[in-house]
C-alpha cells in the first residue's frame, strides 16, 4: 500500500520541485515518512505512558494516604465490643447468676416504608399495643428502641417478617436461675450490665466484661468478615465463686420464711457458717427478693440487712461478756451473783429479769439469761476491759466480707456511762450486724482463736484457714493470709461452750433447739427495739445463735426474726428455725445420727451409775452416721434384723424372698461372698430367736 502510493507522491514532489526550483523537493524526497510515523506513534505512546506513570505517582505518593484512608473507611469498621459479664457460682459450681444473649428490636423510623403495616406486624410479633408501636415508628428520629431483651420466639418472628427499617441487635440479660434464693445477697445489675446491689455491686470489677474497640473488615454490603482472633473470650468478665451452698441456703430460707409467717414478723435473717473454714454456707433473708424483677421491689426489700443493718443484739451478746470475764479472771463458772429477785434499781437504771432469781452462779446466769447477773459481771469487769474484748472480736469494725457492710455502733470507752456498761453487758447500747455476731461466735467456737468469715472462694483455691478477705487497696475478695490471733484461752472457750450447751440441753431458754442424738449449744436473745423516739418500745428482736454439735462445732447458725407479733421470745421464735436448719444441714452432709432410744440410755445409766453424761456421749458416738454397706458380693446378713438385711439387698437392686416368720435372719441363700447374679433367687430364712 505504501509502495503503491510512493510513485504518486514522487510525481507530486517532482511537479512541486519543478515549480519551486528543485532544492526543497530533493530534501523532502529523501525523508522516510514511514519511519517518521512510527516514531511519532512511539512518541505519543511514550507521552501517554509517562502521563500514566505521573498519575500513578500522584495517586500513590501525593494522594496515597488520603485514598488509603478512604478505602479503609469503606472496608474496615471499628466497633465498641463489651465482653459478657462473668457468672456467680455457689461452692458446688451451680450457677447463681449468668448473662445470656438476648435480642433487642430497634427501628430506624425514617427508613420504614409502610408504617401501618409494619406497626401491625410488630405489634403482633412483640405483643405490644398497636398505638405504642405506631408512635415509635412515626417519630422523626434516626433510631429508636422498640423492645429490649425479648425472648427468642419474638426475635425470630421479627426476623422472619423482614421489615424495612426494623433490626435486631444482641444484648446480654442477667438471669438468676434460682430466682429469689439468696436474692438480697446476690443483688442485681442495671440495664447497662453494671452491678447495682449485693455481690453484683461488690464484685463488679471482677465480674464486668472489658469494653474494647475491635476493628472489623466488612464487604460492600456491610457484612462483617471473620477475623482470626476475634473471639470475645479475652474480654469476658471473670466468674465469682461464693462459699454459699444452695441446698443449705434452701433449708435456711424455708425455715426462716415459715417462722416469719407463723409469728407475723416484719422480716427475718439467718446465716449458716462452716466452723472449720469460716465459710458462709447460707445467707437467708425473708421476705424474699427476686433479682430477675428488681424493679418490682422497693429498696427496703432488696437491702442486704444481714450486712447493712446494725441492731442491738440483746442476750445473744452475753457469752462475749462472760468469756471476757473468765479470761480476765474476774469470774469463774461457779462465781455467785445475787440477782435481786428479778428487779434491780441502780443509781442510773432499772433492770428486770423475766424470772425472779436470788443467787445464781455464772453458768446459770447464762443458762437463764439473767440481765441483772450479767450487769453485775459487767460492773466487775469494767468498761475498758469489756470494750477491749469487743474490739478484738471485731465489733465496731467491718468483718471484711466484701459486701456493703455496716460497722455497727461501738462507742469509745470514754463515752460509756455506768448505765451504758450495764446495758452493754446484756446486749443493749451497742449495735451490731448479723455478720459481726456470727464472727464473734465463730471465734468462740474456734477455741478462742479469731476466725474471719469467708464469702468468696478464690480461684486459686488458696488455703481456707485463717484467710482474711481484704478490702482495698488489694481489692475486694482477694485473700490475704493473716496470723491466727488468740483472744480467749482454750479453757475459757471450753467453759463458754459448756454454758451454751446447758442453755439448750439443760433447763435453759433454748430447749426448743434440741435435736435427738446431737448435743446442741446456743444462746437465745429477745432484744428490745428502740422506736422512732429513741426509747424502747414494744418491738422485739428474737434471735438465736447455735452451734452443732457443741462438743466439736461443725456448723454455726445465727437466726434473727424482727418484731414477731405472736411471741417475742428468741427461744420460741428463732430456736426452732435453728433446729430445722441444723437437722436438714446435718442430714444433707450425712452427719445426722439415728435417734437415741431413751430406753437404751436408761439401761446404760443404770449399769454405769456415776457417769451418766459420759455414757450418753458414748451412746451418741456409737450411733453416729450409718452407711449401708454395698459390697460387690452378697453380704453376710445372718443374725441381722430382717429390715436391715432387706435394706442391704435392696441397695443392690435385689428383693430377697423371705421364708418363715420372725425378725431375725437365721439362714441365707446364696452364701455370703457369692457374686451378685441377675437371674438368681435370694432367700432369707427368718426366726423369732436371734
Amino acid at each position: 500500500m505504501l509502495r503503491a502510493k510512493t510513485p504518486r507522491k514522487t510525481r507530486n514532489t517532482r511537479q512541486k520541485t519543478s515549480r519551486m526550483g528543485g532544492g526543497l523537493s530533493s530534501r523532502l524526497g529523501n525523508v522516510d515518512w514511514g519511519r517518521l510515523r512510527i516514531k511519532a506513534v512511539a512518541g505519543l505512546f511514550g507521552v501517554i505512558w509517562c502521563l500514566l506513570w505521573m498519575r500513578a505517582w500522584h495517586v500513590q505518593v501525593i494522594e496515597g494516604d488520603r485514598l488509603a484512608g478512604m478505602a479503609r473507611r469503606q472496608h474496615v469498621a471499628a466497633e465498641l465490643v463489651t465482653g459478657q459479664r462473668g457468672s456467680i457460682l455457689d461452692r458446688n459450681g451451680q450457677v447463681l447468676a449468668r448473662s445470656v444473649e438476648m435480642r433487642s428490636v430497634y427501628v430506624h423510623p425514617l427508613e420504614v416504608q409502610d408504617v401501618d403495616n409494619t406497626a401491625a406486624v410488630l405489634s403482633r410479633c412483640l405483643d405490644l399495643p398497636l398505638p405504642q408501636v405506631r408512635a415509635a415508628l412515626s417519630e422523626r428520629r434516626r433510631f429508636a428502641w422498640l423492645a429490649r431483651k425479648v425472648d427468642d420466639r419474638k426475635a425470630n418472628l421479627v426476623r422472619e417478617a423482614k421489615l424495612s427499617g426494623v433490626g435486631l441487635t444482641t444484648e446480654y440479660e442477667r438471669i438468676y436461675p434460682f430466682r429469689q434464693m439468696a436474692g438480697q445477697l446476690l443483688g442485681f445489675v442495671g440495664l447497662d450490665d453494671k452491678g447495682l446491689e449485693g455481690v453484683e455491686r461488690a464484685m463488679d470489677d471482677s465480674l464486668a466484661g472489658t469494653s474494647t474497640r475491635m476493628v472489623m473488615e466488612r464487604d460492600a454490603a456491610g457484612r462483617r468478615f471473620y477475623l482470626p482472633g476475634s473471639s470475645d473470650n479475652d474480654i469476658r468478665g471473670g466468674d465469682v465463686r461464693l462459699t454459699i451452698d444452695m441446698q443449705v441456703q434452701f433449708f435456711a430460707e424455708e425455715a426462716l420464711a415459715d417462722a416469719v409467717d407463723t409469728y407475723e414478723a416484719k422480716w427475718g435473717g439467718a446465716l449458716v457458717v462452716d466452723v472449720q473454714s469460716g465459710d458462709i454456707l447460707a445467707w437467708a433473708q425473708y421476705p424474699f427478693f427476686n433479682p430477675n424483677a428488681y424493679k418490682e421491689y422497693t429498696p427496703a426489700r432488696w437491702r442486704n440487712r444481714l450486712a447493712s443493718d446494725a441492731l442491738e443484739p440483746g442476750s445473744t451478746f452475753k457469752p462475749f461478756l462472760v468469756a471476757a470475764g473468765l479470761q480476765e479472771g474476774v469470774i469463774t463458772p461457779d462465781t455467785l451473783f445475787y440477782c435481786e429477785k428479778g428487779k434491780w434499781k441502780t443509781r442510773t437504771i432499772n433492770i428486770r429479769d423475766t424470772h425472779s432469781y436470788d443467787w445464781l452462779p455464772v453458768n446459770k446466769i447464762m443458762r437463764y439469761s439473767s440481765n441483772i447477773g450479767c450487769a453485775k459481771i459487767g460492773l466487775e469487769l469494767g468498761t475498758r476491759r469489756y470494750h477491749d474484748y469487743l474490739v478484738k472480736l471485731g465489733f465496731g469494725e467491718r468483718t471484711g466480707v466484701p459486701v456493703a457492710e455496716s460497722k455497727g455502733i461501738l462507742r469509745k470507752p470514754r463515752d460509756w456511762s455506768e448505765a451504758d456498761l450495764i446495758t452493754a453487758s446484756f446486749g443493749q447500747s451497742v449495735s451490731v450486724t448479723a455478720l459481726q455476731m456470727a464472727q464473734g461466735y465463730l471465734t468462740l467456737a474456734n477455741d478462742g482463736v479469731l476466725k474471719k468469715l469467708r464469702l468468696f472462694i478464690p480461684e486459686s483455691g488458696a488455703q481456707q484457714q485463717d484467710v482474711v478477705p481484704s478490702p482495698s487497696p488489694v481489692g475486694p475478695g482477694v485473700a490475704v493470709a493473716a496470723e491466727p490471733r488468740r483472744i480467749f484461752s482454750h479453757k475459757v472457750a471450753r467453759q463458754v461452750m459448756d454454758m451454751l450447751r446447758d442453755v439448750v440441753e439443760e433447763d435453759g431458754t433454748g430447749t426448743r433447739a434440741r435435736i435427738a442424738g446431737i448435743t446442741i449449744g446456743g444462746k437465745t436473745g429477745t432484744a428490745q427495739k428502740a422506736d422512732s423516739s429513741g426509747s424502747y418500745g414494744k418491738g422485739r428482736l428474737a434471735s438465736f445463735v447455735g452451734l452443732v454439735p457443741i462438743d466439736r462445732p461443725r456448723y454455726l447458725i445465727f437466726v434473727m426474726v424482727d418484731e414477731p407479733t405472736r411471741s417475742p421470745y428468741g427461744g420460741v421464735v428463732a430456736a426452732p428455725v435453728f433446729k430445722h436448719v441444723a437437722l436438714r444441714t446435718m442430714a444433707y452432709h450425712g452427719l445426722l445420727p439415728e435417734p437415741v432410744d431413751t430406753d437404751d440410755l436408761k439401761v446404760a445409766e443404770v449399769q454405769k451409775k456415776g457417769a451418766p453424761q459420759d455414757i450418753r456421749q458414748e451412746v451418741r458416738r456409737e450411733i453416729s452416721e450409718r452407711v449401708i454397706e454395698t459390697a460387690d458380693n452378697v453380704p453376710d446378713v445372718v443374725g441381722k434384723p430382717v429390715r436391715r438385711a432387706v435394706e442391704m439387698f435392696a441397695t443392690k437392686g435385689r428383693v430377697p424372698v423371705l421364708k418363715g416368720t420372725g425378725q431375725t435372719v437365721v439362714k441365707q441363700s446364696p452364701e455370703p461372698g457369692a457374686a451378685w447374679q441377675d437371674d438368681k433367687e435370694y432367700i432369707l430364712w427368718l426366726s423369732e430367736r436371734s
Binding site: 427468642d152 434452701f250 450425712g590 450409718r626 449401708i628
Partner: protein, 91 residues
C-alpha cells in the same frame, strides 16, 4: 535478541499467572471468611441457646422447684432415723 524476547514473554506470562492466582486466592479467602463468619454466628447462636437451656435446667432443678414436685408426688422430708446413705459401691 531471541533470548530477550523469550525472557520477556515468560515474565509477562508469569506475571499473568501470579496475578490470576492472587485474584483466585483473594476470592477463596473472601469465600472462606464468609463461611467462617456464618459458622461463627451459628456457634454463637448455639452457645447462647445452650446457656439458656442450662439456665432453664438450673431453674427446674432448684430446691424450691424440686420441693414443689416432691410435695405434688406425695413425698416428704425423711425423718431422723429414716435416712440411709449408700456407700461408694451403691447404686
Amino acid at each position: 535478541m531471541g533470548g530477550w524476547l523469550l525472557a520477556i514473554i515468560l515474565s509477562v506470562l508469569s506475571s499473568l499467572v501470579i496475578g490470576l492466582s492472587l485474584v483466585w486466592l483473594n476470592i477463596e479467602r473472601m469465600d472462606m471468611a464468609y463461611n467462617l463468619r456464618r459458622m461463627q454466628g451459628e456457634l454463637e447462636d448455639r452457645q447462647s441457646l445452650k446457656a439458656k437451656l442450662e439456665v432453664e435446667r438450673d431453674r427446674l432443678l432448684s430446691p424450691y422447684e424440686l420441693g414443689r414436685k416432691a410435695v405434688a408426688l406425695g413425698m416428704r422430708d425423711a425423718r431422723q432415723g429414716q435416712i440411709r446413705r449408700l456407700g461408694d459401691g451403691g447404686l
